[in-house]
Symmetry: C2
Subunit: 399 residues, 2 copies
DNA sequence: TGATTAATTCCAATGGTAATAATAACCCGT
DNA sequence: ACGGGTTATTATTACCATTGGAATTAATCA
């Protein structure tokens, strides 16, 4: 019942076609038909609309030994630019993409106020967006996507609740309107990770997916049938607070025994401390400590190996449980801790994941670590902005 | 992307209308429009098709003070009968429903062969179906739905894998064809529980739902957006094997620390044994033991109260985790253990569920115990049969 | 006749199927 | 060597079923 009307289906199919071309390079209409489950008629109609909107262009015509020549389609990077902003607890990262989703520029900033006063943070967001806009070389910025932790309400443009800073009902969009005039889409990082992955791997269309984020906190974003799943209160996927040890380590959520307490960055460092209380990584700040942990692990440092093994056990049990409930096609690990330690953690987790998961769900799932995409939250945020802009143009066009 | 074509939407809307009328008693087309999110045109078109198929009848015309009189619609119970069969580890339960889903008759049988030889079990199923058919009073039986634990493949009519009996690729439909000639739909009990609940509470259309089954084993069935979610390998919802204590009690799945090990019937009895090794319930068979546990609990027996409290803690942690990941509108407890102890267990679980779940998902969810529906698996199985018959008639009709 | 509510009909948009058009290499006969 | 027919492949068009919304018709009473 996700799609309730013909218009919903149209919208989904439109994005499907765009994703295919965006990732798969130049494609003919025929290529899209074979790759997707759409009919030729539908593809032709959607392509003609996307060309009319200026998002696709016919790039080349190819003659084969026989038959009518095919015309290949490309995303037109000049359609416009999109900015994605990842507002995290300690930093704000912003990326500028063209419509073909090539990153044009990036900006990074530490959050100056540790308490996260809304006015100050919004000021910083505005600064980053302005800097990137200045680097647009005259191309039009058509939208800005912003991801803030916690619960957000895009319709109202409000951050309803951000746990780390105790934000309540912060009207982000209204406040940003004084900083710049681009349309703003507000969302949550876990959702952004999912759309980032869905646009990156168009083969995931129609599939069930869990994107697991490993960072200071841990969580998962879910997609069912190729569609982002938000849950009833837009907060689905809080897998990091699955109880893995009843009455176990305290978690910053206030409960105890959560996966996050054992696998989040502080949890990994606690494992390290238990293995070697005097380990040099423990004297560093969190980011540097995890970097050092990764370096020590690679060097074969026994305490680092023990810490990763310990963390991996809990991660494995948690992944097994997730796979049992969700029964996905793919589980993808992302996040800054995953960038540094993902392969090691997944290797350490695999045995427990496989022993805790049931045979059938386990056989269906593919675990992997996603790396080298820059900041996937910023990318997903920009994708939201593109989707919003396109929905707008699309519905305007048919009026 | 659940619905990819107009036909899928039509099918979903058709069931939506039928569910509304089936549960909500006589309804006018207007009533259906206001209750559902369908347009008047769609409702009118679907109603006329359902009348043509013989499933709905215009039952009465009502004049109000002003305006055109309305005509109320009722499900025509004479459309046909459906049989649902719940094949469990120790018993087989079969129910006969008319198309308005009033139960006409029930049959129950213990599984004679503890090893569950396929031929013998199928023979028993056939016997029950024949007995119910004999009680149809000449009305046509239009379909039989059968639920077998484990993984089933309805398209081929095969039980791919049943854990308790070590069934492998048992061609149930083909074997049953020698017993009776009604169309057979094969499915899994957890899925049946979901459709049973969705048809019972039409307000759940479009909602996210988890149906938690408490029995010898425990598990959950999921629905997203009002649609049954099967997962990638038709095995989603194996929440009973979520790890709640790393390296905890052994579970019959081969792993350890699963919720099922602590909350399934054997787990509850183990809690009882830890509280009072000589408790009289422990000398009984499982079903009688749980019945006795429930009776002792009601009588205030300290050991029974302690056992329920202990089990409830694990159930609560598990429910909290489920709510965090799935973020559903409703969690409904069903199953034979739930029938006996559901209210007590839920009360004992509530505190832990609320402390382990995050604020937002917790605020969105409504926990409840469903009782008094007879055997909901059999009901769901019959619902599958109705859906199958209707899909068949519907597509035939438009040819 | 007007008001009011219920149900039907019409319309534009959409997707899928199937028929049709477009296009160019190849083949064959002259 | 050249021209027309053949064939293979790609893209477009026509047609039907569907939905939601708007306009219309239906049925009743004041």
């Amino acid at each position: 019942m996700t799609a309730r009307s013909a218009a919903d289906i149209r919208r989904g199919n439109l994005f499907e076609v765009l994703r295919r071309v965006s990732v798969g390079g130049p494609l003919s209409r025929q290529d899209i038909v074979t790759a997707s489950s759409l009919s030729m008629a539908t593809v032709a109609s959607i392509v003609s609309e996307l060309i009319q909107l200026g998002l696709l262009t016919e790039s080349e015509t190819v003659r084969r030994a026989t038959g009518r020549p095919l015309t290949r389609l490309t995303v037109n990077p000049a359609f416009g630019l999109f900015i994605g902003v990842d507002v995290a607890e300690t930093y704000i990262h912003a990326s500028l993409f063209d419509s073909a989703f090539d990153a044009r520029a990036e900006e990074h900033m530490a959050v100056v106020d540790p308490v996260g006063d809304p006015a100050g943070v919004v000021q910083q967001i505005g600064e980053l967006v302005r800097r990137l806009s200045d680097r647009a070389n005259g191309d039009q910025v058509r939208g800005v996507g912003i991801c803030v932790p916690g619960l957000v309400d895009d319709a109202d443009g409000v951050s309803v609740f951000a746990p780390n800073w105790a934000w309540r009902q912060v009207p982000v969009r209204r406040m940003l309107a004084e900083q710049f005039s681009h349309p703003v889409h507000l969302d949550n990082p876990l959702r952004a990770l999912v759309v980032s992955e869905l646009w990156r791997e168009p083969g995931l269309g129609g599939k069930n997916l869990a994107v697991v984020n490993l960072g200071t906190g841990v969580g998962a974003g879910l997609a069912f049938g190729g569609d982002l799943y938000r849950g009833t209160s837009n907060s689905a996927g809080e897998w990091g607070h699955t109880t893995v040890v009843l009455d176990g380590w305290a978690c910053r959520c206030g409960s105890s025994g959560c996966i996050e307490a054992y696998v989040g960055a502080p949890g990994l460092l606690r494992h390290l401390q238990e293995a070697d209380p005097g380990h040099r990584a423990l004297r560093l700040g969190q980011t540097e400590a995890i970097t050092e942990l990764a370096r020590s692990f690679s060097a074969g440092d026994p305490a680092a190996v023990a810490a990763v093994q310990a963390g991996g056990r809990y991660l494995g049990a948690g992944l097994g449980s997730l796979v049992n409930v969700v029964n996905p096609d793919a589980v993808v690990l992302v996040g800054w801790v995953s960038d540094l330690l993902g392969d090691a953690l997944l290797a350490a987790a695999r045995h427990d994941a496989e022993s805790h998961a049931l045979v059938r769900p386990l056989a269906a799932v593919d675990f992997s670590v996603r790396s080298g995409v820059g900041n996937p939250v910023a990318r997903g945020a920009a994708t939201f902005a593109l989707e919003a802009a396109l929905t707008h143009d699309h519905t305007e066009g048919t009026r």
